[in-house]
């Protein structure tokens, strides 16, 4: 039996103003109000995301926060919580993966889904789109726009045209007709090319697609050729499957709020130690360390550090924990602490040093010292420890402590 040659079917799911949608999901009072995410208006930052209401007042992404306040004084300004948005987006991608393993991210709030061969499970395209939309809404509480077409570009344009909680399906062969009335601003192209097209009187994709291919390439080069193919409804790009970033997490809740920094530090190191053990056991390393504290007043704060290169070195991680704990503001006692390692990757990715590094040298030394302790006993090797710097007798200031074998 010959296989039936079916054209690919790609769905595009877009949650508009994703950061605002996530904030509104947590706080209902923000619904229907102009919201600006990025920081407080007095801070020196830029706008990360805006709500539809703020956009109507002229606020745009990437403009300074002060300017955003001038344009929309009644807007509610929210601090940037990028990790939260990323987590929410991962949650969305996880939901989409329940339909098909081939999910690709197209930036925050946008995802492509390869939906070939799902007819037996979900029925026709309309039922499939309805099923995806309902599942996303139920499981993430986010409102999405959905487009279904034979390629990524058309699916994306269809999703943008669909509207909230709606789906637009472009049947195979109808791509050119769907795109022909849309403006050329939808196409990815430089400002210069757009300006020249407008000067030539070409405003819609249909007008652009009607030009001879060779003339477009001769005038605009490779960029023009790519835009031309998209305008004709041709997009050969495939869906590149996304894999969830592995992470390790450990947390501890205290019986009573902790105000002693040493106890907090020890607890954090203990949690990190268990996670480092897991990393070592699986020959993996982490790229990012996140530390969150749950305060007694019910509020939580989270800080993170991204390492220059993946690591599983206990000393390095503990040093960063000390640094992070020192960066927190402590309005009250700490009720709980949690640590997570993000960006877990294999140890294979590590570039080995050409020469023996300090770690290797110290490893050799530790090995030699352990051997000496084993051979001669622990009463041969000592380390001087400061006991009382102010002691009158010099011999009382330091004591010799027996060397403790490592490992």
């Amino acid at each position: 039996m010959a296989l039936k040659n079916t054209s690919p079917k790609i769905a595009c799911i877009i949650v508009p103003h994703f950061a605002v949608a996530v904030e509104r999901r947590e706080n209902d009072s923000l619904v229907g109000k102009p919201v600006v995410v990025g920081g407080m208006p007095y801070e020196e930052g830029r706008v990360y995301d805006i709500s539809e209401e703020a956009a109507m007042s002229g606020v745009k992404k990437e403009i300074p926060l002060r300017q955003a306040e001038e344009l929309c004084p009644e807007a509610i300004f929210l601090r940037l919580a990028e990790d939260k948005y990323l987590r929410a987006f991962e949650e969305l991608l996880g939901v989409l993966q329940s339909f098909s393993p081939e999910v690709e991210t197209g930036g925050l709030g946008k995802a492509y889904l390869e939906v070939n061969g799902l007819k037996a499970l979900y029925g026709n395209d309309i039922r499939l789109c309805r099923s995806i939309g309902l599942t996303v809404q139920e499981r993430t509480q986010l409102e999405a726009m959905l487009g279904l077409a034979s390629n990524k570009f058309v699916a994306c344009v269809a999703a943008c045209s669909a509207g909230l909680n709606k789906a637009l399906i472009v049947k195979p062969g109808r791509e050119t007709r769907f795109l022909e009335h849309l403006p050329i601003s939808v196409l990815p192209m430089s400002e210069e090319m757009r300006r020249r097209l407008l000067l030539l009187g070409i405003k819609t994709m249909g007008e652009f697609a009607s030009l001879p291919t060779q003339a477009v390439v001769a005038q605009f080069g490779r960029e023009g050729g790519l835009a031309y193919r998209l305008a004709c409804g041709q997009d050969e790009r495939k869906v590149i499957p996304w894999h969830k970033e592995l992470s390790l997490e450990a947390s501890k809740e205290f019986d009573s709020p902790i105000e002693n920094m040493d106890i907090l530090l020890e607890t954090a190191k203990e949690l990190a130690g268990s996670l480092i053990g897991q990393l070592h056991a699986s020959f993996r390393m982490c790229q990012k360390l996140m530390l969150s504290l749950h305060f007694d007043n019910g509020k939580s704060k989270e800080l993170s550090i991204a390492f220059h290169e993946p690591t599983s070195n206990q000393e390095k991680i503990e040093l960063n924990i000390v640094q992070l704990l020192g960066s927190f503001e402590y309005p009250c006692g700490v009720g709980g602490v949690s640590i997570s390692f993000r960006g877990i990757c294999s140890e294979n990715g590590r570039q080995l040093d050409l020469f023996l590094g300090q770690g290797g040298i110290n490893g050799n030394l530790d090995q030699a010292l352990n051997h000496l302790v084993f051979k001669y006993g622990s009463d041969r090797l000592y380390q001087a420890l400061l006991v009382d710097r102010q002691a009158l007798l010099p011999e009382k200031r330091f004591v010799l402590a027996e060397y403790e074998a490592k490992g």
Binding site: N362, N364, A368, Y376, R380
Partner: protein, 282 residues
């Protein structure tokens, strides 16, 4: 007349050199300064500028043996501790083999030693001390090892043979490491060491003559003097007083042996211990 003859001789020499180089290659004959110029020998500064200059390479060499000898309270330990402090500059670890059990951590701290990066070894015997030194050198994880002191080997049976055997084993791994191995040797005024140090400064000839009569007195035999690349003879010149109180002392350091630069240089260093031990080359 004489200058003309000299010129003719020089010309003849140059011609001979050219002929040799043409036949055997340019490397057959070359000037000594040209071959060694520009090569920096890995070293650890002593903390005394004048002494560093006198040593020729800027300090005591790494991967080699250095012997510091001198009578009691002459400044041997202070110089060794200063070297350790400089060795620890790059967060390296150093070891102090305290065979004589005389290390004062407080004094070491005042000399600038980071005690967290100092491993103190207190072996029971000289043989054990040398074996531990061998293991530590072989680990290649230490920047400097101080052996205090060779004089404590005196009670050991056949100490010259022991020393000779140990040093023969040490030189190989030491050359492969970046560690400076420093031996401290105490000399006594007419004591068991029997080497006479006249008042007014140490006498180089007395300990370097190495005649058969002094071999029995020189406790480690000639092994250490043979294997050491640098030998420093330290002697106390005078006490430094301030308003009648002793605040330090001046020590004279003589470079008795130096395989890396000309030997025989003599410098004075002053060691003051008012709170923190400071040393200056003068």
């Amino acid at each position: 007349m004489g200058s003309k003859k000299n010129k003719a001789e020089l010309r003849e020499l140059e011609m001979t050199v050219l002929q040799i180089q043409r036949r055997w290659g340019p490397k057959a004959l070359r000037r000594l300064e040209a071959s060694t110029a520009g090569i920096e020998i890995p070293h650890i500064p002593t903390g005394f500028d004048k002494l560093d200059k006198a040593l020729g390479i800027g300090g005591i060499p790494r991967s080699r043996i250095t012997e510091i000898l001198g009578p009691i309270t002459s400044g041997k330990t202070t110089i060794a501790l200063k070297i350790i402090a400089y060795a620890q500059d790059r967060k390296d670890i150093a070891a102090y083999i305290d065979l004589s059990r005389t290390l004062d951590p407080d004094y070491a701290f005042r000399c600038g030693v980071d005690l967290r990066k100092l491993l103190i070894v207190q072996p029971d015997s000289g043989r054990e001390a040398l074996a531990i030194a061998n293991s530590l050198v072989s680990s290649r994880g230490l920047a400097a090892i101080v052996f205090d002191s060779v004089s404590s080997l005196l009670g050991e049976t056949s100490s010259p043979q022991l020393m000779s055997e140990a040093l023969r084993q040490l030189t190989g791994p030491l050359a492969d490491s970046a560690c400076a191995l420093i031996f401290l040797t105490s000399l006594c005024f007419g004591g068991p060491c029997g080497i006479s140090i006249p008042r007014g400064g140490p006498c180089v000839t007395d300990i370097t003559q190495g005649g058969p009569s002094s071999k029995d007195n020189y406790l480690s035999g000639f092994a250490l003097s043979h294997y050491a690349s640098v030998r420093l003879l330290v002697g106390r010149e005078k006490w430094i007083k301030r308003y009648g109180d002793i605040t330090g002392y001046r020590a004279e350091v003589t470079v008795v042996k130096n395989k890396l630069a000309p030997a025989g240089k003599r410098v004075s260093v002053s060691i003051t211990f008012n709170g923190t031990v400071k040393g200056n080359g003068t």
